[in-house]
Point group: none
Chain length 431, copies 2
């Protein structure tokens, strides 16, 4: 099955928006065994959309159109699909009622323009949008099927996952390739590839590495008549070779895994942050139910607050500055103690673009304090962009991932793998 | 002058890479007054590239192809351009010599495959690559001109800036369209469109709305002989109609604007967060230099910590729960006081998916405490997705934007516009 993508929006041609939707769609469709053969961006012009959709269906079995389903007059995808199908737009009473209910629930009145979102090409099927106002549409056209989805990523994803992907999967015949994804943290891509050479050597198995800052997803693709069994074998080998570097499967995220490990132990964590400014707490509270395992946190951005709010000794800060393994250890112990959590997790470091207290950009110390032992401190080796001005966001992001991974490894009782791990916390030396 | 983009590479169709090159090109070309009318991604297949380039030149004056110029056998752009031009590939002696010099300087020997990078379609002009091995190419084709550039962003940008953009600028006759972007916060897209109807009615002016959660960018495009003056007039009208809803221009972000306003007043802010878990602090520390205006924050996720860390009265929490305007006000006052900042900014609310303390998902109270007056509290109307499970991320994101906007409006001394703004803080009623 061949699918083409048509993305609608002047903002994409003008470069005001990066086409993240196309990348997300390409990835999900590839995972489902559907081949994306072309991806086209057109502006908010009726004739352009009609031409692009029609041309796409001259080559492929289906086309997925994103964007142009909103309420304003530059939202023309509905009109284009109606024109391509040679049918009029009609008002869908159900959609109209749901729109009015939504707006009323927010205590507002419907502006007439918003009613455009209740219009559909005659004969089209409405694809429910669980997270927004503009529904998706499925329209039969001469050359194949067109799916139209809103351009808002969250809404597009919800309709894809809920309706379109299951439909496409059901339409595929034959044995598709089997794909597995393993999520890893704390090990560099080249190191992973080196360790996984024996898996790569298996006949019918391909590996791909999808890196995010400080995390790498390893995609295993198995093909052939016995793809399912082969994928299972490759996955088992990979898990054995990588050990605790694997933190989960595709649907897992590091914060979810940490939450689960804490919940299993009836434990909680509190965070003390400096360079990340709250990102670590935000990550630990991203998932529903996080209040069971996350107590709270302190963002001690100004150095004096590390003493005032977390009890880091003033003389330590005066002697060593804010970026030091012992400061991280004291922050972790302090936040654990003051917030009454089972674990304290702390980060301090230099996000850039300027060095701080004589330490270069990318210097980061992470500490975890738990029951019954001294804090454990690591200094991850972060690959810092050579352009210091571009370092800030990735350094902050990598720090969060390494901090979550340190807590995960501590909860599992396993060692770290990269960087100068497990620095001794020299608290006793300072009395 | 109309230009189309063709991006070559399987990795883009599979979604392993986001098409950042197309966005960068779109922006630079628009700035130069060149209209990008379509952008197409094709895989590493000769026939696909030939077809896409030929079709593009059937519609536009020029096509810019990126990717597929490297040394390996899946790099097919050179072959495709030769095929489209109906000419053979020939070895360019100059390029060959420079390749050999480059490789020798790195202390290596040239692998035969690398010589592919010295081949060019007969008659093509070589565009120097100051930062890499693969040169760009300019090829005259029946329908217009094709520029081919490497897919490596740094190399693509260097050749565009050095050669292609100056050439295109010189080729433009007439007056280009003029674009302005205004950034707004706190007003819904449909409401903005309603207020801006008089601007939309101006001859030669087009408006587009680019929404993010709780923020909307308004793009004004003016065309015609007097485009510059028309754009200026449209912008002035829009600013008048929207008032303080406009927080900046294209390059501004809300956190930068808040930072600037605080810095101008030699003021600092401290944050107290609940449902956002640290996102607000993270946003306020995203930019370099934020330590001048951001002191720190407290994430009082567990309800008891709102009392212990921020001094919210225990009886208030017992009587009203954690989600209440007075709790937000007490959090703001508490964090301002305890962290010694000029302003305290606090958020409490229900991110979902479950209601909390009897309040529905999306209930949010935001408070700012400043010098010399009672805290100001707002309850923004958030458009909550009907699917509560999908509400969490957008509710948190919208809360951050509304909080930054409340601080911005407070610093400017202007009122809010949406939601039940400026709730009285009933602290005195409780003694």
């Amino acid at each position: 099955m061949r699918v083409e993508l048509v993305t609608v929006g002047d903002e994409l041609l003008l470069g005001d928006t990066v086409n993240g939707n196309a990348a997300w769609l390409g990835r999900r469709l590839a995972e489902a065994g559907v081949e994306v053969t072309r991806s086209v961006v057109v502006g908010d012009l009726l004739a352009e959309i009609v031409e692009a959709v029609t041309a796409a269906l001259g080559r492929a079995d289906a086309v997925i159109v994103t964007g142009g389903l909103g309420p304003t007059y530059d939202d023309l995808t509905r009109d284009a699909l109606a024109a391509a199908a040679g049918v009029p737009l009609v008002l869908d009473k159900d959609l109209e009622r749901r729109l009015r209910d939504r707006v009323a629930a927010a205590g507002r009145t419907l502006v007439p323009m918003a009613l455009r979102m209740a219009e559909v090409p005659e004969g089209a099927r409405v694809l429910p949008n669980p997270v927004g106002s503009a529904p998706g549409l499925r329209v039969k056209l001469p050359g194949g099927v067109a799916y139209a989805l809103p351009g808002v990523p969250r809404e597009m994803r919800a309709i894809m996952t809920g309706t379109v992907l299951p439909e496409l999967r059901a339409a595929i015949s034959g044995t598709p390739a089997v794909r597995r994804i393993l999520r890893t943290a704390g090990v560099w891509e080249s190191e992973l590839a080196d360790r996984l050479a024996p898996v790569e050597a298996l006949e019918g198995v391909r590996l791909a590495y999808l890196p995010d800052p400080a995390e790498v997803r390893v995609r295993i693709t198995a093909t052939g008549p016995d793809a399912e069994a082969l994928a299972g074998r490759a996955e088992r080998m990979a898990r054995e070779l990588l050990g605790p570097a694997v933190y989960g499967e595709d649907a897992d995220t590091l914060d979810r895994v940490v939450h689960r490990l804490l919940a299993e132990r009836s434990a909680t964590v509190a965070t003390a942050e400096s360079l990340t400014g709250g990102l670590l707490g935000a990550e630990l509270t991203a998932m529903p139910g996080s209040s069971a395992t996350y107590a709270g946190g302190v963002v001690a951005y100004a150095t004096r607050l590390k003493h005032e709010l977390l009890g880091v000794p003033r003389e330590l800060l005066d002697a060593e500055g804010a970026v030091h393994p012992d400061v991280a250890a004291a922050m972790a112990a302090g936040v654990r103690d003051r917030l009454g959590a089972t674990y304290g997790l702390a980060v301090t470091g230099v996000a850039g673009p300027e060095p701080q207290d004589g330490r270069p950009v990318g210097t980061v110390y992470i500490a975890v304090a738990g029951p019954g032992c001294d804090p454990r401190v690591t200094a991850p080796d972060l690959p810092v962009p050579s352009d210091a001005a571009a370092a800030r966001a990735p350094v902050r992001r990598m720090t969060v991932v390494h901090a979550l991974d340190l807590l995960r490894r501590t909860l599992l009782g396993v060692a770290g793998e990269t960087g100068r791990d497990d620095l001794p916390a020299h608290r006793e030396e300072r009395g």
